[in-house]
Structure formats: structure tokens, C-alpha cells
Amino acid sequence: MNFAHLGFLLFSLAGMIILDARHKLFFFHAPLRAAVVTVTGVAFFLLWDIAGIVHGIFLHGASDLDTGILLGPEMPLEEVVFLTFLCYLTMNLVALVERLLEWLQNRPERQSVPTARSDSDRSANAGGDVS
């Protein structure tokens, strides 16, 4: 049994959890919703794996660095951990990018508010001058 591959994946997954906990991105933002998304995502990828395995396209082949634990024919334990990690990474990125885009979109609006006010002040002054 070799835990190199699994250990590497769990280490990466831990990184995702820490990032999530620090910035409240996914599970730390809406736990139930995150769970549904993750389970659906992993199930979707597993279905894809199974379709590939059934058609003889995917041959994962046990590597020397794997634990050797198989959840099914050609389906190492590492695959499920990897798919979970991939879903977590994707959703952490989605939350971060969404926040970034929101911030970029709101920033010029905040700047334009005082500008607009000073413009209207100016026109009010101009009106005052005419009268």
C-alpha cells in the first residue's frame, strides 16, 4: 500500500477547505447548497467514468503510488477523492471570481455618484447665476 497519491490529494483538499473557511466561499457560505452541488458533481463525474470504463475507453490502471483500494473495476479510491477536490476547487474559484467581478462592477458606480452630485451642484450654481 502506497499513500503517496492519496496523501497528495488529501493535502490539496485540505488546502481548499482552509481557503473556504478563511473566506466563507462554499461550504462555509451555504453548507447544504454546497453539499448538494458537490454530491451532484461527483456523481456526474463518476457516471462519466463508469460510461468510459464500460466502453473500454478509460483504463486507470493501478499505479505503484496508489493505495490499491478499488471501489469498482478500474475505479481506484483516489479517483473519488480527486473528483471531490476538483468540485471544491471549481466552486472556490467561482465564489472568488464572482466576488471580484461584483467588486469591479460596483467600484466605478461608487465613484460616479459623487461626480454626478458635483455636476448637479454646479448646474444649480449656474442656474443661480442666471437668476
Partner: protein
């Protein structure tokens, strides 16, 4: 099936929720799409780097024969497919679940639009034809049956409901099992859903079948669209309305036979023609109850042109012709000639119907829906018998 065909089908499936979300007019749709694109770009770069490192370190081994051989550094291009699918699927689910009540509302609207009571009418002809021809339960049978069960009906009735909205408003019969009247605000979502949900299935079936099967699929989908789409509106062209409607039910069966690759016999031709006549007759009789409503709404159909009584006679004639055709098929299929009799009997009370009383034919239409289940059961028994004795 090859790796790339698998990728196309699963990516189409993965893109479905996002396309439905954006297509049905979600809030901040543009920002959501931008988010997905940016995430996708980051993930692709990360995948190329880390996949290459993992492969270089020897964590993963590949059956190289199945890959295209296109490499991004040390990563096979196929490895990007999971990342692409994940970036399309997961955020869409995440956003959709933010308003689960809204999503549930949309799903139930689509469900009602697809007329669950009619699902079996299109799925069964396909499944029975394919299974009888091949004797196998395989991917094509399962995916094809699912397609003709739900997405096909959602497309057919979805397009129909949206383009019939104005005339349906004036028809008090619509809004229950026989026709779901949906609010104008839902129209865009229904059209998007009807096309997109079918897409992964159609892709799979096109990849699995040969050219002939592809042509049958094209005819079938054309009939579905042309029946009610603005500009074609085959349902308003007398006789073409009945023929198009018959195609809706016969083409799944023909598709099942063609994708199974069985040679055509005279018996099969006769069964197909008989089924087509049954479909035309049923559509024509179904139009009788709407003669007055259609005329008031400025719509035409086989029944508004011929009048209620003549249409009933024509329908009865077509049912009988179907029965006569079936007499020329091989034993035990010949027994099916008897199955047209309940349909003819159902029309007898309406042989002297007047246009003004056309709505009384609705009673016959309701009975027709039940006869379908009973005769469908009889057809199944006959199929099993012929399968066992063959």
C-alpha cells in the same frame, strides 16, 4: 463509442443547467457567464500545469490507444474535458439552488408542458420496435426511450403551447391534461428548455446511428417543430395537420427499426402505414371538438375545412383502412386488425354530429385516451406472444 463522443455527450449534459439558467433569463446572466469563462480559463491553466506534473511523477497511467495524442505540455487534451464540464455544471447548480422554489416552479411547469399522460405514446413505439428488432437492452434502447419519453414531448408540446398561446386563451378546454396554458413570462424558458434538454440525447443518438437513422431523426424533429412554429404552422394546413401529427407518433417507431438496422419487410411496411393512418385518424377526430373554438380564433384544421361530421367519417374510414392493411401482415401481427374496432366504435355516436355541438366530441376524445391504454396493453401482449413464438 470513442472518448471524444463520450466527451461531447457529457459536456452537453453538463452545459444544460447553465444554458437553462441563462436562457430563461436569470438575474445577472452576463456576470454569471463571465464568471464561468474566467474560472474555466484559470482551471485550464492549472490543469495543464498540475496534470503534467502528476503524469511526470507517474501517479497516473493511461491506455494511450484511446487518446487523440494531442498534448498540452505533458497533459493529454482529453483531461481538460472534466474541468470544462465541472466549470459549466457546478456553478449553474449553485446559482439555481439559491432560489430552489423558483427552480422547482420552472421544473413543474416544464413537466406539465410535456404532457406526462402522453409520454408513453412516443416512447413505447420506439422501445417496442427497437427491442423487437434487436432483442437487446443496451445504451441506445435506454437513452432513446428516455428521449422519446420526456424531451421529445417537452419539445413538441412546449413549442405548441408557446405558439398557440393566443388561440388557447379562448379555449376553455385547455389548462388541464389536454393542454397546459402557461403564462407569457414562461414562454422563453419553455422554448429554451425544450431545445436544450433534447440536445444531449439527440447528439448521442446521432453518434450511435448511421446516416439513415440520422435522416429519420431529422424528419421526426422537423415534424415536431413544423407543426406549430410560426411561419410553418402545419397544424393549420388541412390534411398536412393530420399527417404531421401522425409523424409525431410513427417516427419514433420507424427510428427504432432503422437504428436497429433491420431489413424492411412488407409486413413491417403495412404495420407502419396502418400506424400512420391510425395517427391521422386520431388527430382528425381530436380536431372535431375544437371546430367552433378554432373558427372563432381564426384557425383552420382538417375539421374546420371538412366540418365536424365529415371529419368523423374520414377518421372512421382511416381507422378501417388501417385495420384492412393489418390483415395483410404476417401471423400473429394480423390479429392487430381487431384493435381498430374500439376506435371505430368510439366514433359511432358522433357520425351525425353538427358543427354547433362539436364540443360533445370531447367525450369521445376522453374515451380515446383510455382506449389507447387498453389497446396499448393488448398490443404489448401480442408483441410478447409473437416474440415468444418466433
Amino acid at each position: 463509442m470513442t472518448y471524444w463522443e463520450l466527451i461531447v455527450i457529457f459536456c452537453a449534459l453538463a452545459a444544460l443547467p447553465l444554458a437553462l439558467l441563462v436562457g430563461s433569463g436569470t438575474r445577472h446572466g452576463k456576470r454569471k457567464v463571465t464568471t464561468v469563462v474566467v474560472v474555466l480559463a484559470i482551471l485550464v491553466v492549472l490543469t495543464v500545469i498540475f496534470d503534467s506534473l502528476i503524469i511526470a511523477a507517474g501517479f497516473v497511467e493511461y491506455g494511450e490507444a484511446t487518446l487523440s495524442g494531442i498534448m498540452l505540455w505533458k497533459a493529454p487534451i482529453e483531461d481538460l474535458s472534466y474541468v470544462v464540464a465541472g466549470a459549466l455544471l457546478l456553478p449553474a447548480l449553485w446559482w439555481a439552488l439559491r432560489r430552489p422554489g423558483h427552480v422547482w416552479g420552472q421544473v413543474t411547469t416544464w413537466f406539465a408542458t410535456s404532457r406526462p399522460i402522453s409520454w408513453v405514446n412516443t416512447a413505447y413505439p420506439f422501445a417496442a420496435a427497437y427491442f423487437l428488432a434487436t432483442g437487446r437492452v443496451d445504451d441506445v434502447l435506454v437513452i432513446g426511450t428516455l428521449f422519446f419519453l420526456i424531451p421529445y414531448n417537452l419539445m413538441m408540446y412546449g413549442i405548441n403551447d408557446v405558439f398557440d398561446y393566443e388561440s388557447d386563451l379562448r379555449n376553455p378546454r385547455k389548462g388541464g391534461v389536454e393542454g397546459a396554458l402557461v403564462d407569457r413570462s414562461q414562454h422563453r424558458g419553455i422554448l429554451v428548455a425544450s431545445v436544450l434538454i433534447s440536445l444531449p440525447f439527440v447528439l448521442y443518438l446521432l453518434i450511435s446511428g448511421d446516416l439513415a437513422a440520422g435522416i429519420v431523426m431529422a424528419v421526426s424533429l422537423f415534424a415536431v417543430v413544423a407543426y406549430s412554429l410560426e411561419g410553418l404552422r402545419f397544424k393549420e394546413i388541412p390534411f398536412l395537420d393530420s399527417a404531421t401529427s401522425a409523424t409525431h407518433f410513427v417516427s419514433p417507431m420507424v427510428y427504432g427499426l432503422v437504428i436497429a438496422g433491420v431489413p424492411w419487410s412488407w409486413s413491417m411496411m403495412a404495420v407502419t402505414c396502418a400506424f400512420f393512418l391510425w395517427g391521422m385518424a386520431s388527430q382528425a377526430f381530436g380536431a372535431v371538438q375544437d371546430v367552433e373554438a378554432d373558427r372563432a380564433g381564426g384557425l383552420s384544421s382538417i375539421a374546420t375545412v371538412l366540418g365536424a361530421r365529415s371529419t368523423v367519417w374520414v377518421a372512421a374510414g382511416m381507422y378501417l383502412a388501417a385495420g384492412i392493411l393489418l390483415l395483410f401482415t404476417a401471423w400473429p401481427t394480423r390479429v392487430a386488425a381487431l384493435f381498430v374496432l374500439p376506435y371505430v366504435a368510439n366514433l359511432v355516436p358522433f357520425l351525425r354530429i353538427h358543427d354547433a355541438a362539436c364540443e360533445t366530441a370531447n367525450l369521445g376524445w376522453k374515451r380515446f385516451l383510455w382506449i389507447n391504454y387498453v389497446v396499448g396493453f393488448a398490443v404489448t401482449m401480442l408483441l410478447i406472444y409473437s416474440r415468444v413464438t418466433a
